[in-house]
């Protein structure tokens, strides 16, 4: 199917045609096929849950992390309805598997660049939920002192170099950060996460070419949730997607099921090790599904409710929970993970609610050193 043959919404029932043969490993049950393309198989019964030698300790940690992300965002969405979260937020509900499986494989001093849909990545890199929630509230003590909000959360202390309000803008920044690490002979790497919408922007091509030409230590992760804001990406995208485009530049790339945390974790771990070993840039295209709308107030009426319901049943949390169950983890332990996450985020919410506004003088701080607005009536 070419883009010109695919008006908005067309091809919904077409089988997934974007898989790249080389390195395509998204056959793990096909449970979480992108965009609801295979609704008939989207259930836990057919998912490949019986994983031999499952590292239950590691996967339980991923499970807890995913619940923390889910609880953070559900708390934030509710707080926005209350008028406490002020600006737009872009939830990643349903996409937590990518954040957990990729970011948990990074060292604290590795660098991460994220997107406007970046709460999960940021939490997974180690930023604190209380500070992040205060940032969403625009309060003092927020990750960025209340000056950025949801779309501009950064925590340089944990190597999180920023979410970004401009789609794809993090890609050139990421390759530059990787170039600096290379100049410094550091053994650190950069991970750059972007969505499927970003691959149609010029900086995607420019950044991937750049990383390949300079042989930089960067792992690109296309978190493909099937939607470019509120339009199905498939209808506005020529060709087979991010991995195919990377491969056209000679960059190793693979397509993976982003909701299969076990497989994605192993693949990300290997990719990160290869990048760290100086093997050059790589790309992972992780297919997932955005259960929420584009923003927290987007009802996402542009897709059928059955599609969302089917995907909800096989979201990465449900799938990993079922796999852990099958591996002998008690249901109580799984329930405890959710409860602990919800308690943590309730506390973050209470803290943000009680936090003061920033001092008005902060509006004039951190603009620039030369020509500092505080030094003159500019």
């Amino acid at each position: 199917m070419s883009a010109s043959e695919a008006p908005d919404g067309a091809g919904d029932d077409a089988p997934d045609d974007r898989a790249v043969e080389t390195g395509a490993t998204d056959g793990a049950g096909g449970a979480a096929s992108p965009e609801g393309a295979d609704l008939g198989t989207a259930n836990l019964d057919t998912a490949n849950l019986d994983v031999p030698n499952l590292d239950t300790g590691r996967m339980l940690a991923h499970y807890r992390l995913m619940w923390r992300i889910r609880a953070f965002e559900e708390t934030a969405v509710a707080a926005q309805a209350e008028g406490l979260v002020l600006g737009a937020i872009h939830p990643s509900i349903g996409q937590e598997g990518v954040a957990a499986a990729v970011c948990a494989n990074l060292r604290r001093d590795d660098l991460l660049l994220s997107t406007h849909r970046g709460h999960g990545h940021t939490l997974a890199k180690g930023a604190g939920a209380p500070e992040m929630m205060r940032e969403l509230f625009g309060r003092a003590g927020g990750t960025c002192g209340g000056k950025g909000g949801s779309m501009h959360i950064a925590d340089f202390g944990v190597g999180m170099l920023g979410a970004n309000g401009v789609v794809g803008a993090n890609i050139p920044i990421a390759v530059g950060a990787a170039q600096a690490l290379k100049l410094q002979r550091a053994e650190r790497i950069v991970v750059c996460i972007f969505g499927d919408g970003a691959i149609n922007r010029g900086p995607f091509l420019e950044g991937l070419n750049w990383a390949a030409v300079f042989d930089l230590p960067v792992l690109f992760v296309c978190e493909d949730n099937g939607f470019s804001a509120t339009t199905r990406t498939r209808g506005v995208t020529a060709g087979a997607g991010a991995a195919a485009r990377a491969q056209s530049l000679g960059m190793p790339a693979e397509v993976l099921d982003g909701n299969d945390v076990v497989t994605l974790d192993a693949a990300a771990r290997e990719a990160i090790a290869l990048v760290r070993a100086g093997q050059g840039p790589r790309l992972i295209e992780a297919r997932t599904y955005r259960l929420s709308g584009h923003t927290a107030v987007d009802p996402a009426a542009y897709r059928p409710a059955e599609e969302v319901a089917a995907q909800r049943a096989v979201c990465p949390i449900m799938r990993l929970g079922a796999a852990l169950c099958m591996a002998g983890i008690a249901e109580a332990a799984l329930a405890e993970a959710e409860a602990a996450a919800r308690a943590e985020m309730a506390a973050a919410l209470a803290g943000a609610r009680a936090a003061p506004w920033p001092e008005p003088a902060a509006a004039y701080a951190d603009v620039q050193d030369v020509g500092d607005p505080r030094l003159g009536a500019f």
Partner: protein
Amino acid sequence: MAGLRMSYLEAGRRALIEEMERDASVWALGEDLGRGGVFGQYRGLQEVFGPERIADTPISEACIMGAAVGAAMTGTRPVVEMRFSDFALCAVDELVNQAAKARYMFGGQMRVPLVVREPIGMWRSSAAQHSQSLEAWYVHIPGLVVVAPATPADALGLMKSAIRCDDPVVFMEHKNLWALEGAVPEGEHLVPLGRAEVARAGDAVTLVTWSAMRHVCLTAAESLAAEGIAAEVIDLRTLWPWDRDTVLASVARTGRLLVVQEAVQVAGFGAEIAATVAEALHGALKAPVRRLGAPRIPIAYAPPLEDRARVGAGDVAAAVRAMLAPGSIPA
């Protein structure tokens, strides 16, 4: 000041060499740098510093600028070559939304210490996409420092200060000045950012200008002197922050301000100076403030058409005479 003389182009090259020798975190990136850059500003540098620190990039303005932002956030001091300021428009998101805003929107967690070299100005029938002077756009953006040197000494001293600055600096060299020779002090020469220079003293009128128009104004001032009119010429050198103290002190003395810019006059930086002076010195003015700049037309290729966008020394002198004519209202 000893008698070193060098070209404007060589001064910028020397500044980069000195700063790269002084600080291993300084590096440069841009198109064709390995072959010296499009004007020769980087001649021989890759042989000295290697291809990692004098990096030849693809023709990817957005990625050149964006990569510099990421590299600046990660402990290095990149010097970005944009070739022509016109091409930097392909990298406006990276400069305006990313470089200029990152420190602020991330709550001061880091700085973005980079210099972006954007050659400006009319130069040898280069037409509409290789001749513009868009400095006012960048002055408008909080977070940016904007520099436009006019002499070899300032090209050297301001470039060195720009590289040492922790803010993103837009460094606008004028293409028609590359070959200009001038005296440069021996030894370490730093020119502070934000400080104007009185290029010629006078008490009848204050000409405020920058970049190549400094030389046009000095030529005009010379011919006016022959008529007994002493024009003071102030070269701002840095447009943001601009040296209001020097300008206001001069106009308070002369009572007359003429701002001269190569850029389109409408909404140019001259308007900011004129407005500031009018607000601050209204009662002290002996004539209305006056601006000279290009008409709001694209710059053409053919010389007789290109000249329509050019402010010449004759135009400056005529404007001054009109301002000094008793009882006359400037056109």
